[in-house]
Amino acid sequence: MTTLRKPVVSDHRSAARAISGRLNPSSGFSVLHPFPANQNEIPKLRLRELSLSYKTNGGERLLALDRLDLQVRAGEFLCIVGPSGCGKSTLLHLIAGLHSPTSGTVLVDGKPTPGTGTDRILIFQELGLFPWLTVGQNVEFGMKMKGVPKAERREQAEHYLRLVHLAQFRDSYIHQLSGGMRQRVALARALASEPDVLLMDEPFAALDAQTRDLLHDELERIWAETGRTIIFVTHNVREAVRLGDRVVLLTFRPGHIKREFAIHLPRPRHLEHVDVAQTAREILGELRDEINKSLENEYRVQA
């Protein structure tokens, strides 16, 4: 493996082309572009020059995402952090095919994706569980759409509900569950579609700290058991370090990737662990820098 030892420059795209890396032995992460280690390997998910602009109510064109490049390995747990308004959620919607980008392509296994597809399942921030269906029927929904026979559907749903420890709530309705339980139903429903890539949009933001800790453990365990590729969006850097193999930093509008951090901390990790906290602090410093830089830039443009 040839690794160019060269400091990362602030321009992400030129850095990506150089496939460069700088290991920092003193902390739990390294600033580098760990992908592709082997250039022949086709990434599970690839975003190629993804841009999105839209007209605001005032009539001016707003560039939300600017030629964003990203490659995700099969089985990788990738976390995306960024200041609010940087288009994190929008990015997930584009990957899921719920919206079309202005330009650029989303590729799964090297093939462009046509709109939505059950190879990319998104867990929405608001979850979007169906209140007219039971927990079990919610989990079965994706399979029902695919035309999986009823008996098999039930069995599969049973399996995924056991995976999230909700088997005994199969016949409950959504409103009867707590926030944490609803999260787990959403996770089971997403996993039951057996997606190649699982997209999660700030799923634990509205939960209390204990529930969130618990769900971090469960998500990590389920990720290890199922081997799914996960893209997890959050504004919480420590959560990103707790969960991710790699943390990607998005800039404020127009959103593109500013930095990537590979997290080498051993698993299972814990949110309160010193290394996690330390690494998060360092990344948070970078994040603040980026926010400040973009703010300064805005002021300068306006002045």
Binding site: T118, F124, G128, F130, W132, G142, M145, I174
Partner: protein, 253 residues
């Protein structure tokens, strides 16, 4: 229970007044029959099966017509609610058509279909399809976007998205419209039966008039009210309750 008591007292007073006025002979009995006469007419109607047959015939027309208008209304309403083009074109037309009393469709129906079952079905459908459509359209618009996004994300497209996501998701908003559609269908049916076709409750009413039999007229009216109330109180109330339980909505008092 308290409400039930109050209602019992209220109806007792109403019937008491009725008996009193009939006893006083303010109007001759063939114009103002006593409750007893009406009850006897009801009894006789059921005893000679003419009421049963009329109810059977009317309900068959009703269910058929209502089913057709719900099916059309759901598809049309979801369509108009989902597409801006349809909303701007068809949507306006539907709203303006709603101001037309359903019985106005009868002359057209008779010219097209003759004095037949088809004519009466046509009137029932035209009477109720618009309120179902318009409530469905409103439901489609008020429904949170997240459900259709989640549905598409999980692989629901085309008719599957409509049937398994958009329709159930809009049900809380639409139930009132379905109820209203039923009430309109019921009125259109009785009106249509009175004027055009044979058999059915409406025709019994007309027959009562032709025979100068006021107690039969009142008996049939009681029947029409009773059936309407039963369907509303049992079918729609049950649907509402079930939905509220599933969705966890506070029961509407």
């Amino acid at each position: 229970m308290k409400t039930l008591g109050r209602q019992a007292i209220f109806y007792a007073i109403v019937i008491g007044l009725w008996v009193l006025i009939a006893q006083l002979r303010v109007w001759p009995p063939y114009l103002f029959p006593a409750p007893k006469d009406v009850a006897e007419s009801l009894w006789a109607g059921f005893a000679d099966h003419s009421f049963w047959i009329a109810i059977g015939v009317s309900m068959k027309r009703m269910f058929l017509g209502y089913a057709i208008s719900v099916a059309i209304g759901i598809v049309l309403g979801l369509g108009v609610g989902s597409s801006r083009f349809l909303e701007e074109t068809l949507g306006g037309l539907l709203v303006s058509l709603q101001s037309l009393p359903s019985i106005c469709w009868l002359p057209m129906a008779v010219l097209w279909f003759g004095l037949s079952e088809k004519a009466i079905l046509f009137v029932v459908v035209m009477g109720s399809v618009l309120s179902v459509t318009i409530s469905m359209e409103t439901g489609r618009k008020q429904m949170p976007k997240i459900y259709s996004m989640a549905g598409r994300n999980l692989g629901a497209h085309g008719w599957k998205l409509f049937l398994y996501v958009l329709f159930p998701a809009s049900l809380p908003y639409v139930l009132t419209g379905l109820k209203q559609g039923w009430a309109f269908a019921w009125r259109s049916l009785i009106a249509g039966e009175m004027i055009s076709v044979s058999l059915g409750l409406g025709q019994l009413l007309t027959m009562g008039r032709d025979l100068n039999d006021m107690s039969q007229v009142l008996a049939v009216m009681v029947l029409i009210i009773g059936i309407g109330y039963l369907v509303d109180g049992i079918v729609f109330r049950t649907m509402e309750k079930q939905m509220q339980q599933k969705w966890g909505l506070a029961p509407a008092s």
